[in-house]
């Protein structure tokens, strides 16, 4: 199986703070990978390097065989950890705007997802609950015909039902369009059954990676592996 991402000896520090430390890891193509690790492990920095928002000080990274470049970002849907959208937009305005600025945006699919997620087209972004906002941001990423989807903590601080709706959309998305999806999350128990593959980071380095079913066979559930690694 080929890799969507090849990361070799990648290092990045912010002043004295080391975010990525000689990181060497790859992500399989066409699979859904859980990117796991405690706060400060380097997960968000890694995702930012992939879309070219952060320049590493050393090492290199290939995204589908190419170094990161803004031109290739048309093939990547990225949800940052602190996503924001125009507060005055209604959901309808937001998705119409998304259609004009986001390459590969699939309007019918977005409308369908809005229905599944039980969102109202006329609601203003400023009036949405945290869970509804998170759902909207996930829709803006998943309703795109792109090769790579990067979701940085899409489940943080949102209620159970919104989380379940997002998981439902992810399952639909996996069936409807083959994509490489990378999700960083702390909600391991709720999400581990979705992953094909997991990558554990700590202090900017790779701690463990592997196929989820093989890891379950060998060591048990992903949540307990996480506890064992970081406790």
């Amino acid at each position: 199986m080929s890799n969507a991402l090849e990361i070799k000896y990648l290092s990045k520090s912010y002043g004295p703070k080391i975010a990525l430390d000689d990181l060497y890891v790859s992500f399989p193509e066409g699979q859904i990978t859980g990117l796991l690790g405690p706060n400060g492990a380097g997960k968000s920095t890694l995702l930012k390097v992939i879309v070219g928002l952060v320049k590493p000080q050393a090492g290199n990274i290939l995204v589908f065989g190419q170094p990161p470049h803004w031109k290739f970002n048309a093939e990547i849907a990225y949800l940052p950890d602190r996503a924001k959208w125009y507060k005055v937009h209604t959901i309808e305005r937001a998705i119409n705007y998304a259609l004009t600025i986001l390459p590969g945006f699939d309007l019918p699919r977005a409308l369908e997802m809005i229905k599944t997620m039980d969102l109202d087209l006329d609601s203003r972004v400023s009036a949405l609950s945290k869970g509804q906002q998170a759902s909207l941001y996930v829709i803006l990423c998943l309703a795109r015909k792109v090769k790579l989807v990067l979701l940085d903590e899409p489940f943080t601080g949102i209620d159970l039902l919104s989380r379940e709706r997002i998981i439902q959309s992810l399952i639909d998305s996996m069936l409807d369009q083959p994509q490489t999806i990378i999700i960083s999350t702390h909600e391991i128990h709720e999400t581990e059954s979705l992953f094909d593959h997991v990558v554990f980071l700590n202090r900017g380095q790779l701690v463990l990676e592997g196929n989820v079913e093989a890891l379950r066979q060998e060591k048990g559930c992903i949540e307990s592996i996480y506890r064992g690694l970081f406790r």
Binding site: Q31, I32, E164, I167, Q168, I171, D172, M174, L175, H189, E192, S193, L194, F195, D196, E213, A214, R216, Q217, G220, C221, I222, E223, S224
Partner: protein, 129 residues
């Protein structure tokens, strides 16, 4: 563990074991125990993945294995159906029974019980309750 009913099937998923094997085993057992009538349609991959909240690839892998064992038959555009062939079901039933016997023998051995004692215990046990 939570019991999840999907169509005619019941599932209990344990995250500490491979999920693909659990889906496969639980459908196998349901067929062998005649919990579901022969010829029944299996839930679609989407429906089962959604209800169990698992990766659709996991469901597809289990379904492929059932097809390979001829326990199910996938008809193009219609879905996957449990076999109507009684002999196939009987074979699976015997295979699952042999597995259960091996588990039994292994736990007897661990207890230090020898074969004659285990056999006499089997003879004494009440089958009908």
């Amino acid at each position: 563990m939570e019991n999840i009913q999907v169509g005619d099937f019941n599932f209990q998923m344990d995250l500490s074991k491979p999920l693909y094997e659990q889906v496969l085993q639980q459908i196998r057992h349901a067929i062998a125990r005649s919990d579901v009538p022969l010829g029944t349609k299996l839930p679609s991959v989407r429906e089962l993945a959604q209800q169990l909240k698992i990766n659709p690839n996991t469901v597809m892998r289990a379904y492929q294995e059932l097809d390979r064992d001829h326990l199910t038959e996938t008809r193009r555009g219609q879905g996957t159906f449990i076999t109507s062939d009684l002999d196939t079901v009987k074979q699976v039933k015997m295979a699952l029974a042999s597995e259960a016997v091996l588990v039994f023998v292994s736990s007897m051995k661990k207890l230090g019980i020898d074969r004659p004692t285990a056999e006499s215990l089997l003879k004494e046990v009440a089958w009908h309750e």
